[in-house]
């Protein structure tokens, strides 16, 4: 066979192989839609907002408390992790001595790779009892937020640091030459430069936070309710799936798949925002 022919065959072959990723994604979406079809067929879609409660065996499918739980826990964790991560990155980049910055960087890389279930376990052993000593029962929205903060902080720190180190050096040199103060350089020169990157990072990490399942399940108490305070237990969409998937049948099962589809949509919207935020930066370069 002439090499030309082999080259062509090879190209066709790898094109075919590349289709695997696309087909997998389509399959995932197809199955989520197919499995959630049953409930949409039987009840109007708004039923997840209007039913009196979540009693799937009696045909009541109120998903609202779980959605609120997921959102609260995500927002709470991001509200703590974002300033801490960003400030830590600023510290490493502009204030701390080099050795200290390296230690924190390496540490964050290690912790970013640690399984979420480890944080969940540690939350059960340390965070929940600590909260319980203060306000019973301990398994609560607050515990979930804290554990999730542990999970997303390393990622936020790493990406913030990465964004900071990509700031145009000439810009910094000019700012220094102009005699601007360190605070003013960071606040007025560096921050506008990295803003888009930070928003991207935040949205991506939010996607991770809302998709987190077992660590949250372990510490949140999993009571289906709208929490009155941060000390009350909640249940998230993800934990709901993990808890009930094993025995769910028919419309109940279908409702769980519907909540999976919903999660996927939320994460995709976040990913879309992240991507569209990246654009202005790419164009300016």
């Amino acid at each position: 066979m002439p090499p030309r022919c082999i080259d062509n065959l090879f190209l066709r072959f790898i094109q075919l192989v590349s289709l695997v990723s696309i087909v997998s994604l389509l399959f995932i979406i197809f199955f989520l839609v197919k499995e959630s079809y049953l409930i949409v067929q039987e009840k109007p879609i708004l039923t997840v907002f209007t039913d009196p409660a979540w009693h799937p065996l009696d045909g009541q499918f109120l998903l609202l408390p779980m959605m609120v739980g997921s959102l609260l826990i995500m927002l709470g964790a991001m509200l703590i992790a974002l300033p801490i991560g960003l400030l830590t990155a600023i510290l490493c980049r502009y204030y701390a001595p080099r050795w200290f910055a390296t230690i924190i960087q390496r540490l964050m890389e290690v912790f970013a790779g640690i399984p979420a279930v480890v944080y969940g376990f540690w939350g059960v052993m340390v965070i929940v009892p600590a909260i319980a000593a203060w306000q019973a029962p301990g398994t609560s929205l607050l515990a979930g937020i804290l554990v999730l903060t542990f999970i997303v902080t390393p990622g936020v720190t790493i990406i913030s640091y990465h964004n900071l180190s990509q700031v145009n050096q000439t810009l910094l040199h000019s700012a220094i030459a102009l005699g601007l103060s360190r605070y003013n350089i960071i606040r007025h020169i560096i921050f506008p430069e990295v803003k888009h990157g930070l928003i991207t990072a935040t949205t991506l990490q939010s996607g991770r936070a809302i998709g987190e399942t077992l660590a949250v399940l372990m510490v949140c108490g999993n009571v289906v309710q709208l929490p009155g305070s941060v000390f009350e237990p909640i249940r998230t969409l993800t934990s709901n799936i993990a808890l009930e998937m094993a025995y769910a049948m028919d419309t109940h099962r279908s409702a769980l798949f519907l909540s999976g589809l919903l999660l996927l949509l939320i994460v995709l919207v976040l990913a879309f925002i992240a991507e569209s935020m990246q654009k202005p930066k790419a164009e300016s370069q």
């Binding site: 695997v20 830590t88 790779g113 902080t153 605070y183 996607g207 998709g211 990913a271």
Partner: protein
């Protein structure tokens, strides 16, 4: 880069808060590490790693989980590495960033990477376990993991191929090498550290996975006999011990140390490999 230090109130405040968060991070994560090690250390010995669990995991060891985890990782890579390498070759060598199919593929990969693991688990459950009738098995788990690590593999391998200077391809063409030979004899060997890096990162990602495995690989504690057996990964074991087994804390702590130790090794490998790559890089 060091900025010139000047001390006005705003700067002192920013510096103060930065140091505060840095130290807080160091303290919290340090405490987590110290707590896990001090609590699990006593329970951890050679026997713990080499024997089967007894009494729902309270006593005995974690040998079946180590084996199950290894099998899961091995087969996930076996399925996705070839697909990953070929897809990456296609993206890096045959298409530009603007190419239509490549853009579609990249979009699909980004989306795939964003799918929450519990949703991936639901899909694996509905498709592999029920429709394909594989049942709760290591095979179903490995297939689900394979899809999960595919985006990570492809992105990293593509990057390492794109980092090879174009002159190598031109020289190979000038010497009359066919494109396939150029890829297999020049480009892939040059990208081998990058590929190794992609593998290491994917193993780390797959090892951390729990939610996707609950409904695919299942959580049977026995030593698996075959790929069609259900098997419990280390991460699922930690989850089960701390949620469903009162008195399982000691064993859970010790299992966590084993898992953390593996992650640390993987991390060290990543650092070494990325040093290799930057040193070898012709640019």
């Amino acid at each position: 880069m060091k900025l010139p230090s000047n001390y006005n109130p705003a700067d002192i405040l920013l510096a103060g808060f930065s140091w505060l968060s840095g130290l807080l991070v160091l303290l919290c994560f340090g405490y987590l590490f110290a707590d896990i090690f001090s609590n699990g250390y006593a329970h951890l010995d050679w026997q713990f790693i080499t024997t089967a669990p007894e009494n729902a995991g309270r006593d005995g060891g974690i040998a079946p989980m180590i084996i199950s985890t290894t099998i899961l990782l091995f087969f996930a890579l076996l399925f996705s590495l070839p697909i990953g390498i070929f897809s990456a070759i296609y993206l890096a060598e045959y298409t530009s960033y603007e190419h239509r199919f490549a853009r579609l593929l990249r979009y699909a990969l980004n989306t795939l990477a964003a799918v929450p693991s519990i949703v991936m688990g639901m899909f694996g459950f509905a498709f592999f376990v029920i429709i394909l009738q594989i049942g709760f098995s290591l095979l179903a788990g490995a297939l689900t993991l394979a899809i999960m690590i595919l985006p990570l593999l492809i992105r990293n391998i593509e990057d390492s191929l794109r980092n090879i200077p174009h002159t190598y391809r031109l020289n190979a063409a000038a010497l009359g090498l066919s494109q396939v030979r150029t890829i297999f004899q020049i480009l892939l060997p040059m990208a081998k550290h990058g590929i190794a890096m992609a593998v290491v990162l994917s193993v780390g990602r797959a090892m951390a996975e729990t939610a996707a495995l609950l409904f695919t690989a299942g959580y049977v504690m026995r030593m698996p006999d075959s790929l069609m057996d259900s098997g419990r990964s280390l991460s699922v074991h930690i989850f089960d011990l701390s949620m469903n087994v009162p008195g399982g804390e000691k064993a859970a702590y010790a299992t966590t140390i084993v898992l953390l130790f593996s992650i640390l090794i993987i991390n060290a490998a990543t650092v070494l490999l990325s040093n290799q790559i930057t040193r070898r890089s012709p640019m």
